[in-house]
Every structure is written in C-alpha cells, then in structure tokens.
Amino acid sequence: MKQSGLGHPESISKLMFSKVLIANRGEIAVRINQTLRAMGIAPVAVYSEADAGAPHVYTAEQSVALLGSVAEETYLNIPNLVQAARDCDADAVHPGYGFLSENPEFARACADAGITFIGPTPESMGALGDKLRSKEIALAAGVPVVPGSPECLPGDPVAAEFAERWGFPLLVKAAAGGGGRGMRLVNRRQDLENDMELASREAQAAFGDGRVFLERNIAQPRHVEVQVLADAFGHTIHLGERECSVQRRHQKIIEETPSPALTPELRQRMGDAAIAVAREAGYVNAGTVEFLLDSRSGEFYFLEMNARLQVEHPVTEAVLGLDMVEWQVRIANGEPLSLQQDDVQPRGHAIECRIYAEDPYRDFVPSTGTLVRWRPPSGPGLRLDSGVAQGQEVSIYYDPMLAKLVAWGPTRDASLRRMEVALSQFLALGVVTNIPLLRAVMGHSQFQRGEYDTGFLEWNPAVTRPATSDESRAMARALAAWASHQTVAPSAPAAAGDNVVRANPWQSAGEQRLP
C-alpha cells in the first residue's frame, strides 16, 4: 500500500517524548529544535560559556549552562550532559553530529540513566565506529572494502609492512576519526613516519585516541554516500545517495543529490549494498553508508558507516520532502518505519554549500571575529540552516562552519543557478568566508557538467585564487574610499583598549617590533 506522503508517518502508536535534550550546538542544534517544536516536543539546549546567547540556546524552550568553553569540558562531557538531561527531566537525548554523536559510552550512559538515546544501539555504534570492525561487517554483507592496515601507533612495524605490500601513495587515517581529521596522504616512504606522527597527534587532540591506520589510496575517486533508515523491527530502506566529492582538507564543502555520476543501475546496486551493511550491523535509526566510487570503472568500495545524522542530510530532505530528524525521533520512540522502498521517489535536484569562516585564498585558514553583518539570502527553493546571528562572536573554540545553504530546483542546472544567485546575495562581514570559492565552483564548467572527483580543488587551483574583474575592483576601491568617510574606524588600540588590539593583532604585532 502506498503512503500518501513521506513526511507524515501514519502510525502513532506510542506516547511521544515530551522533552528532548540536544547535546550539541550550532546549526544542527537549531535545526533539531525546529523539528522538535513542530512535533510538540520541548527542546532543551545545553551551552558553553562561549555560546551563551547563541541561536541554538534561544531557539530552544529551556537551556542548561555547561561550565567552561573548550569542548572537552562542555559538549564532550558525558557525566555533565547526562546530569543535565536528568535535572530537566528529559525523556530523550539527541546527539546531533560530531561531538558525542558516535560515542557508544554516551549512548550507554543515557540508557543507564533511563533516557532514550536518539540513534543506534551502543553495540552497533561501537562496531561501526571501529574502522576495522566496520570493514568486517561490510565484507560479511558482501560489499567490497578498500585494503587497510591494522590500527597502530606511529613506529609500529605493521605500518611498514603494509606500505611495503601496497606501495605509495597511501592514506593515514585516525582509528577513532571522521570528518577528515587526522587524515593525511603520504606520497613517499621517507614521509611515512612523520605523517603518522602528525596524524596521531591530531587524532589524540580531536578524539582522545592517537591510534591510526594506513589505507590504499584510490586515485581520483568520487565520494558517494547512501542514506539509510531502519526501525527496531528489522525494516530497513535507503533514501538515495549524496555526492560529496568537492572537498578541502578531506572535508566536504559541497554536496548534492542525485549524484551526476550514477546510472539507475549503479544507484540500485549502491542502495542495496548500503541496506546490506546496515542489516549486517543490526542498525536502527538514520545512518549513512559512505563509498568511494571509481566513476570510470563503476566499482565502489565501502568506506565507513556514520552512525548518526549527517551534516548534508538536508539535500535528501529537499528531494524527498521528508524530515529526517522527525523519523529519527519516531524510530527512537519505538514506532515502526511506515515508508517502503517504493515510496522513495526523489523529485528534482538539491545542492548544499557549507558556509565556513575561513580564507579560501590562504589555505582555508579559519577566521575569527564578530559577525558585524549577517544577512543570508532567501527565495524560491532555498533553505538555510544557520547557527549564528548578526553580532555574534565566531570563536576559536569550535568548528568554523557558520551555516549550510541548500538550493532545490526541478533540474540540476536550475538548482545550481539558484545557488549561484543566492551565494552572490549572501552578506557576511566581520569574518572572512569561503563564499567566493563556492561561487567559483558553481560557475566552473567541469562542475556544471558533473565531471569532478575528490581532487577537484587540487586540479583546479584557479578556483582557490581571487578572480576580481578590473571593473569590480575599481568599484570596490571607489566605494571603500567613500565608505571610509561615512563611518569611523575604532580609535587606536592605546585609546580603545584590549578590544581593538584583539581585533587586529597584526597591527599591534607590527608596532611592537618597532624600536
């Protein structure tokens, strides 16, 4: 039997949660707040000292302060988060993505406190979070994997043995990792030891686990992932793919669905493979199976399964007209998934751009400061998931992603054009953003043809260089001259104090040097 629409589950058998604590911050916490409120559930925010007054706090119904600002003391502090959930009588906890979202100890601690964790069981999360065990799961499900070494610390002879067998280049990755952190491409034997050291240190800092492993490098792959949904009764479906090949520092910046690289036949094979992996892992709730795709041969390899909501889930929502967080909540509440595979019929095309506070022309170095002006675009087919507001401080403490802009269109061309226009109207002042880079990608003929892989930015260095026409440069200079007479610069550091010194340390550093 066909459902009337994807967004409205029919069976509401269980008493719904009345209060859910969101153990996260930024745009994803805001986005979860929205769905919970629409479902009649009270969202509870937690916040660090640096985040007091942030949008994820004032879009919630209640909030709990966490002492400290660094992530370890706040959004990664399991005892304090569980205590906060208890204190406010939350029925459930939503972990968002990042932070503790894939930490089985957190899921277990919630369960032990009688609080539902909105996500998979700690057991399947633990198995999938372990890169080697997750590969065993994929192999058991009949899905090919990329050859990799055992997990080890720098200096372990297993690394040298693996390098001997597969040769260079190869990848070093964090055992506990994700999001590209602790990941490095090693081109030469003599760099292996040093790169493993750096990756291990980065992994230790980001995940509290310094173990790494080596992996064979697939040349010019595309990164294509498949979204799955599974209920607690063994019913598992996939929600199509997302193409995430535009990356910098091995982190995605642009995602789209459908992928321009897939034929209907390949889509079906990858979808079936994703379902097989999820079933083999005993997976419940929303998850994503990531593949490396060799687009020339059509061969794909299992990379990992992310046991959580994905940053780029809105593109799937846009083409399917459903709310992924709502399904996460219902499944966690023990409701059966009423959707069948045949109900999943994507409409049109959607693309997401991640807006980062970083300088695309200087190695993507993060930028901090006050968002003096922040006016995102709006219009047909646009969606903005934002975690910041005008006047807010963009601090050093957390990920520099400010927002996600999603454009939907009846065709790929249409969604790309909507995105290009929207980016050109996106006003952000006070920090440097990657918006000009995103625009350059939208305007790139190779990207427009859908012919790209994870090396897109490396193969097209022009995209990461400023491209200002003489006319707009002249206009910018004239307007800057005019504006400089309309308003005044904050007074000199000595007179205005600490604030201004921090606003431009280059200047103060320069002055200190003068004799």
């Binding site: 952190r181 750096l198 240190r201 980065e202 800092a205 980001a206 520092r249 022309y361 170095v365 993060p366 930028s367 400061g369 003096v372 002006r373 050093i396 957390y398 520099p400 050109s424 109207q425 996106f426 006003l427 002042l429 006070g430 440097v432 953003t433 918006i435 000009p436 400023p466 200002t468 003489d470 006319e471 707009s472 440069r473 002249a474 206009m475 910018a476 200079r477 004239a478 307007l479 800057a480 001259a481 504006a483 400089s484 007479h485 309309q486 308003t487 005044v488 610069a489 904050p490 201004v500 921090r502 606003a503 431009n504 340390p505 280059w506 200047q507 550093a509 320069g510 040097r513 003068l514």
Partner: protein, 182 residues
C-alpha cells in the same frame, strides 16, 4: 557639494598599490575619480542607511545602469567591503604607514597565523633553523597547524610554551639572521 580625497590601499583578496581618490558628493549622487593602477571612473551611489558608527549598507549604479549592492564595516583599522558577494579589505594608506604591516618575513618574528593553542615547540633558543623547517605545532579550530621558519636563522627567543593560548599575530619565536652572534 562637498569634496573629499585621500589615499587607500587594498589588502585582500588582492594586495594592491596605494591609490588616490577624489569624491564629489551631492545629495543623491557621489562621483568618484580614481587615480593609480585602476582606470578612472564615475559611479553613482545611493546610500540605504548607515546603521552604526562603524558600518553601513548601500546600492550603487554604474554608468551602464547596472545596480550593485554593497556593505561595509570597520574591523579594527581595516575597512571590510562586501560587493556583490565578494569581500575586499582596505586600509587607509596613512594608517598602513604607521606600522610595518603583517607577516614576519622582514623582521625576525614568527607569528601565530590564527588564534589557538601551542602544542609543541620543536626548537630551543640558540638553535640554527632552515627556511621551511617546522618550528612550532599549534592547534586551532580542531586542526593541527604546522608553523615553519620563514627563512634561515638562529632562534634568538622562544616566546611561547606548550599549552599556551595565543592570539592571531602573537609572536611565537624570534629569529636572528645566521651571521649574527649571540
């Protein structure tokens, strides 16, 4: 009608030479003339409003009739200008001459490129370092940063310790030229 003039310099995304400008301002129009490396031109602008002492927004029209949106804000001594989706950063030329500007190449300083924490200092005072040698490891925004020496030299002073929080532009190390003793 009032007239204004001065000197500015673009520092981002393209670093340019100092340019001189002259503004003729009437009630509804502002005519610009630019001298220097860019062609001279006249642009009309309508100000939508200045919402604070330090920032504002407007629309301008080129001679071809095309309309462009812009906004600006002072960030310290820098004027950040947003025009049609792109950021340009300027400094008043007079301001720039006061300090010696960004970077550590000319002097012996190695500065923090962004705020964060020092993970490790790989050299000690008196060490000889080569250009591009890794001298400090930092962490910022959950990423590890490798700080390298901008030229050959001898470490005159280590200004930070592991674990220390640093601001952007703070001195990490001081280098002396190789031929200098002590």
């Amino acid at each position: 009608m009032t007239q204004k003039h001065g000197e500015m310099r673009e520092t981002y995304p393209d670093a340019g030479e100092v340019y001189r400008y002259r503004l003729d301002e009437s009630e509804s129009e502002i005519a610009f003339e630019l001298e220097g490396e860019v062609p001279e031109g006249v642009i009309s602008a309508v100000v939508l409003g200045i919402e604070s002492r330090e920032s504002g927004e407007g629309l301008c029209r080129t001679e071809s009739g095309r309309i462009h949106a812009f906004a600006w804000a002072w960030v310290g001594p820098e004027l950040h200008l947003w025009l049609d989706g792109s950021l340009h950063v300027f400094q008043r030329a007079e301001t720039r001459r006061r300090g010696s500007g960004a970077g550590g190449d000319a002097s012996g300083d190695i500065l923090a490129p962004m705020p964060g924490a020092v993970l490790e200092v790989l050299v000690s005072e008196g060490d000889r370092v080569e250009r591009n040698q890794t001298v400090v490891l930092m962490e910022s925004m959950k990423m590890e940063l490798v700080i390298t020496a901008s030229r050959d030299g001898i470490v005159r002073r280590v200004a930070v310790q592991p674990g220390q929080q640093v601001e952007r532009g703070m001195r990490l190390l001081e280098l002396a030229p190789e031929n200098e003793t002590g």
